[in-house]
Symmetry: C2
Subunit: 459 residues, 2 copies
């Protein structure tokens, strides 16, 4: 495909996406296909090339029916993942440039634009100055948790971890509400699930500091080595907020790495009125927030900061001959390959840059505030209703609700709404109770969508 063909076909592809986004409400949010249906529609790979029209036709015929429409305004499941159209174009530019940002020298702009954005966001989000120079884009919060844990293991070992590995005495602390990726990271780091302590939560589903203190104490007394605590600002289940400042004090006392996971809620730090949620972050060793959840950026783009990039780099660096270069040896540059699990890396900063410049910081704040206002409105309808109740306090734009008559009617209402196709909601359990999560966060969700969801649920 030469540049002129690309120009012509590229316009068609852009138009296809524009049409798709314009008519997205015509589709049921959640795909209705049965397992195997999509595969059954697909043909063998062609020996000879074919026109791009054939692919676009298959998108219409097969892919769209098999798609759960994450950009639909009726998407309230999991956490919505905004692929705003400016971010789509930023990602297109990244693909078009086709550079590899593993080393500074393999494309200086890919590294320096990223450094610039990560430092600028420290200011815009009111993050502690200790994170300046410690920011990097990861693919997901799962990888960010793993990277944090590896740095923590290296620090706890006094820098011997990279040579000697783990010794079976290391322990990691989460709560029952912490994202499962942290337990999974402990597994991948070779600690096994046996190393993970699940700390009790209080009535608000926040980590109990007294239980954390007692588990750390008994582990230390038993000769174990506490390595990392993961505190969460905005848990996946209900949006609960762990007491970061108190947890940080405990961590400081015992030399434990504090990783703060704000995968979903993190972008709210852009708004001064929500910064109270982030109290104590100045004591954290690392912090993560997903731009691909609530900062209008197409997946995948996780913001990760650490106060100790030197530890992270020492843990993960490796320099074979074929990657040696004068810029790296000068010490004047950052090579981001040392900050992440893979070696190679896309120029992901371009899609974030596109978002922040197109919307401006005020535009992103308006996006966040609009969702919180819609959630507050829905909360007022729920609390005024005789049949439904909140099972946890509203957290920003996330509501967790249940039918007062128990799990069966709650589940029946969820299934009814999902089958109707105008909205997609998922569930969690809160203290053993089945509860519907309503995560408001699609870019195009407006009040009438939320009203329609509530009417359908409460019908």
């Amino acid at each position: 495909m030469d540049p002129d063909e690309f120009r012509r076909i590229g316009h068609e592809v852009v138009d296809w996406i524009a049409d798709y986004r314009a008519r997205i409400e015509d589709f049921p949010v959640k795909s209705q296909v049965e397992p195997g249906w999509v595969r059954g529609q697909l043909g063998a790979l062609p020996e000879q090339g074919e026109g791009f029209d054939a692919l676009l036709a298959d998108l219409d015929r097969v892919v769209l029916p098999g798609t759960t429409h994450w950009q639909h305004p009726g998407f309230y499941a999991y956490f919505p993942a905004n692929a705003s159209l400016p971010s789509v174009l930023g990602d297109l530019l990244s693909s078009g440039l086709g550079v590899q940002g593993m080393l500074w020298s393999t494309s200086p702009a890919a590294t320096e634009v990223e450094q610039h954005l990560m430092d600028e966001l420290v200011g815009a989000m009111g993050l502690p100055a200790r994170f300046l120079g410690g920011g990097v884009i990861q693919d997901t919060a799962s990888s960010a948790a793993l990277v944090a844990l590896l740095a923590a293991l290296h620090r706890t070992s006094g820098g011997k971890w990279r040579q000697t590995g783990v010794d079976g005495s290391e322990t990691v602390y989460v709560s029952s509400q912490t994202h499962s990726s942290v337990e999974r990271a402990a597994r991948m780091a070779g600690l096994g699930e046996q190393a993970v302590r699940s700390i009790e939560v209080d009535a608000a589903l926040a980590m109990r500091v007294d239980d954390l203190a007692s588990r750390i104490r008994s582990d230390v007394e038993a000769g174990r080595k506490p390595v990392m605590v993961c505190a969460t600002i905005g848990t996946t289940g209900t949006g609960a907020v762990d007491p970061v400042r108190e947890i940080a004090s405990l961590c400081a006392e015992h030399g434990i790495w504090l990783h703060v996971d704000a995968a979903w809620a993190g972008p709210a730090a852009l708004c001064p009125e929500f910064r109270g949620l982030f109290d104590g972050l100045d004591q954290a060793d690392s912090f993560t927030a997903n731009a691909h959840k609530w900062m209008l950026t197409a997946f995948d783009l996780t913001l990760f900061w650490t106060a100790h990039p030197d530890v992270l780099v020492d843990a993960l660096t490796i320099l074979p001959e074929y990657l040696r270069n004068t810029a790296t040896e000068s010490g004047a540059v950052v090579d981001y390959r040392d900050w992440q699990i893979p070696l190679g890396r896309r120029f992901r900063a371009l899609k974030l840059w596109s978002v922040l410049r197109w919307y401006g910081l005020e535009g992103v704040r308006a996006h966040l505030r609009g969702h919180v206002e819609l959630a507050a409105l829905l909360e007022s309808w729920v609390t005024a209703d005789d049949n439904w109740t909140l099972v946890a306090p509203r957290s920003l734009s996330l509501l967790t609700i249940a039918h007062r008559d128990g799990d069966e009617p709650t589940k029946a209402a969820m299934d009814r709404v999902n089958a109707a196709g105008e909205a997609f909601i998922t569930h969690t359990t809160v203290n053993g109770r089945f509860a519907i999560r309503i995560a408001i966060g699609a870019e195009s969700t407006r009040q009438h969508h939320v009203r329609a969801l509530w009417d359908a649920l409460s019908a």
Copy 2:
């Protein structure tokens, strides 16, 4: 940005990329900027949004001078990474759909198109049938190696690894020519570098099976547990090929997981005449090849197959309440989140599908064969020259050469070529000798480019 704005601005972005690709030869391949120059050009994040033109202007003014042009026909460094224009459009469609393929149920087509392509490629590449149903797209070969190692650890432990972690007795075998990501994977998995055995290589830089056998034997006698051998088909330094079939026999004897890394050379399996390189693959437990290196697909897209997806899934699965769903519980679907390091995942299969349909299998084969022919031509010029010599046999499209007078003139020639800007080459060391690697693999590289490179080198 609404769909109509996206349509208008999207056309401009497509045109910008088309113009960039059309004039890419006007740029020096390797960016000439100094550390810090790019950052010095960038302004603060705007409070109010601005037009997309401002971003495009900064791309021209700042990003392009700070870019090393990986899509330039004069790019022979590392391994070229083709971001062919059909793959750019496929990736654009993925961003435009904006779906999250972590579970089958979160977007069935994202999973089933990927399953379909991975199975189709088993046939097209002549891979063993045991890989059918065991294919998945990873971000990079580094992650693929880590995933393979985690599955291997789980299997070796008899399924206890996920609970108990590593015990410090596990060992991993590579050669001095194996990609550094495998040693790094061992580190990340908690084994430490102490667990990695670097096996000697023969004159062709291939792993010596006798040394491997003796290292395994002495480890077993010392009570260690050999877990994984990584064999390479096409090493990074010189494109050497390890004796996979003999290594596989040893692995089978000792119950060791054999991971075969063909990150660069793997796509050559599409051509029957190159399949001899892949002998023994029917005994491998896992195999990886980068579509983003030599299969015309924009980064990131690594093909990974395992003969034991059940082991992999058991090692990595975790199912919190908020991810439970009827499709998963039916057992009728694959949830690819259990096959990889992160939880979330893009619909990456779309960019691969775009490539395979636009070019057809024959088109991709022509791409591979063209590069091999150019490398053979260059080889003929090198061998006919009095001053230059091959320091390793040509491997497909990779040549490793040095000046007969030693390291200084070799390095001087490399620096001269890179400074001139019409080509970009990198180096390695072969038996202590400084050598230039010439990896032919950019989509637009033609004979006159290779001739110009040779004229510049040998001037």
